[in-house]
């Protein structure tokens, strides 16, 4: 098992059922130390269940998980000391002040009371909320609450940060602020980060992703590798009559043409996409409203692996 300490989190063959309902099937993943790992999946894909297992809320039914080289099954307490967990819903007490919340959290982790106040000050400073210490959390905005929560989680100096859909309920400006805070922390504290999301764009900055669908692993690996495995760049033509246009373009030969809602996707069988784009733009100028040169995205990956569009997945948007 000495080798396993290279991994911040290592899961092998994890399965889970709620009664008779199977929600996770044979999931494996490895988070590199200092790495940023994303569990990506539409709603109902089982990512929150997987998250709850990794964060020790749910008992491990099948498979093995180790965190920082320690088995989750055998040593849940040392594992809990190593992880800092940020949930979808803020785990802060609204009726307590910011400082009281942090103090409470420190006591839960058995931190030395003398040392605790210093740590609280440092943590609040790091998140830029040092002047909010005396305020009740219920009086803070959503973005500030998130900061307080991160300050709280960092108090115990975890080596792995687990985040479950961390941007849920936040507006776009605060979302990007949150991600820059997280990446800042990751760099200064050498933290490993594992997060779940159902937003494709949020998965892109991760080093590695695990794509889940209906409780199964659909694809996993480095984002760049997954992209290149999908093949070539392609051209997307915006149009009001995708089917009609697709039928005409198909006659050109040496291309793969798919009609999609409000657009036509054209993949060159040979050659590059850029010259094809110019050619198509000139040739079909009247029918086409826009031309986009595209790299395969995670959305394409999902489509290829499951045969469904990301936005048509149940419960999505």
């Amino acid at each position: 098992m000495a080798e396993s300490s290279l991994w911040a989190v290592e899961a092998e063959g994890v399965g889970y059922s709620y009664g008779r309902k199977r929600v996770l099937e044979n999931i494996s993943l490895r988070v590199e130390e200092g790495g940023m790992f994303c569990i990506l999946g539409p709603n109902g894909s089982g990512k929150t269940t997987l998250f709850k297992i990794l964060s020790t809320i749910f008992a491990l039914q099948e498979g093995e998980v180790s965190v920082a080289g320690r088995s989750l099954r055998q040593f849940p307490t040392p594992v809990r000391k190593k992880i800092g967990v940020l949930f979808q819903n803020p785990a802060v007490d609204m009726k307590l002040t910011v400082r009281e919340n942090l103090r409470f959290h420190g006591n839960l982790y058995g931190l030395d009371t003398h040392d605790l106040e210093k740590r609280i000050n440092k943590s609040l400073e790091a998140l830029g909320v040092e002047d909010r210490g005396g305020e009740l959390v219920e009086n803070l905005s959503g973005g500030l609450r998130r900061r307080v929560e991160i300050a709280k989680v960092l108090l115990t100096r975890p080596s792995i940060l687990l985040l479950d859909e961390p941007t849920t309920g936040l507006d776009p400006a605060i979302r990007s602020e949150l991600w820059s805070i997280i990446s800042g922390i990751r760099n200064t504290r050498k933290l490993s980060v594992l997060f779940t999301t159902h937003l494709l764009e949020e998965a892109e900055p991760a080093d590695e992703i695990l794509l889940l669908d209906q409780g199964r692993s659909v694809a996993s690996g480095k984002v760049a590798d997954l992209r290149s495995s999908l093949g070539k760049e392609y051209v997307r033509l915006g149009t009001y009559q995708p089917k009609k246009l697709a039928a005409r373009i198909r006659k050109e030969g040496e291309i793969e043409v798919t009609a999609e809602p409000a657009s036509v996707k054209v993949v060159p069988v040979r050659g590059l996409a850029a010259p094809l784009a110019i050619k198509l733009w000139r040739q079909y100028n009247k029918e086409v409203t826009s031309v986009t040169l595209c790299r395969p995205t995670l959305e394409d990956l999902f489509l290829q692996k499951t045969g469904r569009h990301w936005s048509s997945t149940p419960g999505e948007f």
Partner: protein, 254 residues
């Protein structure tokens, strides 16, 4: 673990004091019940079960102490459901302190609040013709604490698996209210129908009520009029059983 439990208990108390409505509701409601019902019924119900001065204000007083403990137990355990829904509980569940820390913290917090409130209301005892001395006060605190631990544990047992406060209140009405009705708090067993009397005999809360009633009826310097050992042992055993059931319940992870 103790640090975590104390911290959770302290949180309960801070939250309680910060919600002014709760402080008023928890103290004023039982006192209002006592005053209105006690004065309203007055001397209408004079039966052999009544001790001391034979009016209902006096009779009802120990029942009100019991009601305060009951209310506090309900309020402090309903927060488990809120904590679960708001996400706060998850943060506690992933802490290394362990789940039993949550249980003991809740029970400790609920008990301290209940005993404190019961003591505040017992300041009214002279108005109900009760005059507890130091020895009686010691037993009153001991018995109230045991009852508070037991009732908080019962509330915890019901609240833990629940995800809605509405469901909790429905069950509370089904469990707690009859438990209190049939403890002797409202009427003595002496004049009740045979089957009610049987129910009352099997209700552990009756023994708590009996003890409180006996203690409060003790005049200063007099020996205790009742033997408390049976009451203590029944309340202790029930409380222990409930706490053990809670410990078993929290240790189970889904």
């Amino acid at each position: 673990m103790m640090q975590a439990s104390f911290s959770l208990a302290l949180r309960e108390i801070v939250r309680f004091l910060r919600q002014k409505n709760r402080v008023i509701g928890a103290l004023a409601t039982p006192v209002l019940f006592w005053f209105l019902l006690g004065s309203g019924v007055g001397r209408s119900l004079v039966t052999p079960g009544f001790r001391g001065r034979l009016d209902y204000l006096t009779y009802f007083f120990p029942g009100i102490i019991l009601l305060i403990v009951l209310f506090t137990a309900i309020f402090s355990t309903v927060s488990i459901i809120e904590d679960r829904r708001e996400g706060f509980l998850q943060g506690v569940l992933v802490a290394p302190a362990g789940r039993s820390a949550i249980l003991f913290g809740k029970i400790m917090g609920g008990t301290l609040l209940a005993v404190f409130q019961a003591l505040v209301v017992m300041l009214l005892a002279p108005y109900s013709d009760h005059h507890p001395d130091a020895r009686v006060l010691f037993h009153l605190i001991a018995m109230t604490s045991l009852l508070a631990v037991g009732l908080t544990a019962l509330g915890f047992l019901i609240a833990w698996p629940m995800d809605s406060t509405q469901g909790f209140h429905a069950l509370i009405n089904l469990f707690f209210v009859p438990l209190w009705f049939l403890s002797g708090a409202l009427f003595p067993a002496g004049g009740a129908a045979e089957w009610v009397r049987t129910l009352m005999r099997f209700n552990p809360l009756s023994y708590g009520h009996e003890a409180l009633q006996g203690l409060l009826a003790t005049k200063q310097g007099q020996p205790l009029p009742i033997d408390l050992s049976q009451d203590y042992s029944i309340i202790c055993a029930t409380t222990l059983l409930l706490v053990m059931a809670c410990a078993f319940q929290v240790s189970r992870r889904s």
